[in-house]
């Protein structure tokens, strides 16, 4: 478990993190989303000790991440693999040697049968058996990130930290890399922490997410809860185009963020014996579940009956102007 308590970090006069508290459970896929400059990457670097922090506390499985004890920090870094936006592979080493490199940093003999088997099995896991002896320059972006993933797993970490890992890739390749990460999470039970500005990353793989802005966590929860019915700042981040709604009557937005399949909308029409038009709607895919919201336009006179019905059914709603 990774626990951050009130973490503050500044570069000289610039405050980057202003009291961040997050708890990441074992085997979870956790996302940190926000615009560039929100402090996401710095936060990730603080967690694995690439950056120091001024106050607060970060612990990984109860062990404090601190620059004071370099030996302990090194041991911690071994339990956290990391992948990067620009892959950061060594240009002069082939795929196999890139994957083997972290072992060399730990004085592990890479010639033993055990080591060779592990390196080969990781290359197989990421689907690059036929590229084993290719140099990074001969690989596509998606393939390079696959090599980086294999490299990050070679020391058998408990956590995989992903720093904008798909930001340099096109949408189709992004989906492939994300499903690989999901597979790693499910099959190897590795906790995955992703830092990203891409909504689709969070929607596709994250179980929980924090929205970071100006060094503060402004919202935390399931992605569907954060994004279907977003708070003001998240709405600004999503940059959703304003919806064109009818000027007469009342526009009521309903949010569907649980898996209940009750046909609430048609049930309401029948039970209240009324008609209304659906004037706007949006459905999105979250980890293979569809969630979304609908806006209906009703006459002012039935407004209270509709909202009472929605409350009774446990559907959250909001009147739009």
């Amino acid at each position: 478990m990774i626990v951050l308590k009130n973490v503050c970090k500044n570069f000289d006069d610039l405050e980057v993190l202003k009291g961040v508290s997050i708890e990441i459970q074992d085997h979870e896929v956790y996302g940190i989303i926000g615009q560039s400059g929100a402090g996401k990457s710095t936060l990730l670097r603080c967690i694995n000790g690439l950056e120091s922090y001024q106050s607060g506390e970060i612990t990984v499985d109860g062990v404090l991440v601190s620059q004071k004890d370099k030996k302990q920090l090194r041991q911690l870094q071994k339990t956290m693999g990391m992948i990067f936006q620009n892959f950061n592979l060594l240009e002069r080493l082939d795929v196999y040697d890139n994957v083997a490199l972290p072992m060399k940093f730990w004085g592990i003999n890479t010639k033993t049968e055990e080591a060779v088997n592990k390196i080969n099995s990781l290359i197989r896991l990421v689907g690059l058996e036929d590229k084993k002896h290719s140099k990074p320059a001969e690989l596509s972006g998606g393939q390079k990130q696959r090599v980086a993933i294999a490299r990050a797993l070679v020391l058998e970490p408990k956590v995989l930290l992903c720093d904008e890992a798909t930001s340099a890739l096109d949408p189709a390749i992004t989906r492939e890399i994300l499903s690989l990460l999901q597979q790693i999470n499910e099959e190897l039970g590795i906790t995955i922490l992703v830092v990203t500005h891409q909504m689709e990353v969070v929607k596709q793989i994250c179980q929980r997410v924090s929205f970071l802005k100006d060094g503060r966590v402004l919202a935390e929860g399931k992605p569907e809860d954060l994004f279907i019915h977003p708070i003001k700042e998240v709405k600004a981040f999503l940059q959703e185009e304003s919806t064109l709604l009818p000027a007469t009557g009342v526009n009521i937005q309903m949010f569907f963020t649980d898996k209940s399949s009750d046909p609430v909308v048609t049930m309401m029409a029948r039970e209240l014996d009324m008609n209304f038009s659906i004037v706007w709607g949006k459905l999105e895919d979250f980890r293979s579940n569809v969630f979304g919201s609908l806006v209906i336009n009703v006459d002012e006179s039935v407004r209270d009956r509709v909202t009472a019905y929605l409350d009774k059914e446990g559907v959250s709603w909001e009147v739009l102007n």
Partner: protein
């Protein structure tokens, strides 16, 4: 004529080879210190970096002929004499060390900082990063620097010839310039051109092999 030229070519090769070798070995040390202590290095240290950088610049800005004279006592201490091919190797090396130190520093510092960060994230020590990442990634660039150095030393070796070092450059000056022999001048020039082309082609070939 052939004998004279052949002997001189041998002297040039001796001077260039040994000065390149010694300066590469000795220049590597300040290059590493500069890389480590640079603002973006593993152990940033402004004072050490600036002082060493100043020294490198100072020695680089000395005209070779003057440097050669200044370090005569050093040459005598090392070789025992200040005349001859062996003696010329000392000032050539001394002149080449700051040059190659700067070239190596640039080559090393061109290493992608992301790769260094990746190595750090896996718990690599500074020494491991220095040799397994910086050094390994920079080999082709450093090789390019050595080629450049070799060609530069070849040029300086002509001047060293005037202080009794011998070599092709010396023959070109004594026979070609002072004795007005166009023949010597042309042959010496052709040999030097050929030598530079050869070194450069070899360098390009190895660079391609390595990267």
């Amino acid at each position: 004529m052939a004998d004279i030229i052949l002997k001189a070519a041998g002297q040039t090769l001796t001077m260039v080879f040994w000065s390149t070798l010694f300066s590469v070995l000795l220049g590597f040390i300040p290059a590493i210190i500069l890389t480590l202590t640079a603002p973006d290095g593993l152990r940033p240290n402004r004072i050490v970096y600036e002082v060493l950088s100043f020294l490198v610049n100072t020695f680089r800005s000395f005209p070779f002929v003057i440097l050669m004279v200044i370090i005569i006592p050093l040459t005598r201490a090392i070789v025992g004499t200040t005349i001859g091919t062996q003696a010329a190797i000392v000032p050539l090396t001394a002149c080449a060390i700051p040059f190659i130190a700067r070239v190596f520093e640039n080559a090393l510092r061109e290493t992608n900082p992301g790769v260094i960060e990746a190595a750090r994230s896996f718990g690599a020590s500074d020494w491991q990063i220095l040799f397994r990442v910086y050094f390994k990634e920079s080999i082709p660039r450093m090789l390019n620097g050595i080629i450049l150095l070799t060609i530069n030393i070849l040029g300086y070796s002509a001047m060293a010839g005037t202080l009794g070092g011998g070599g092709i450059g010396d023959i070109a000056i004594r026979y070609g310039y002072q004795k007005y022999s166009t023949e010597y001048l042309v042959v010496c020039s052709l040999i030097l051109i050929g030598f530079v082309q050869l070194v450069q082609s070899f360098g390009n070939w190895v660079y391609k092999k390595l990267s």
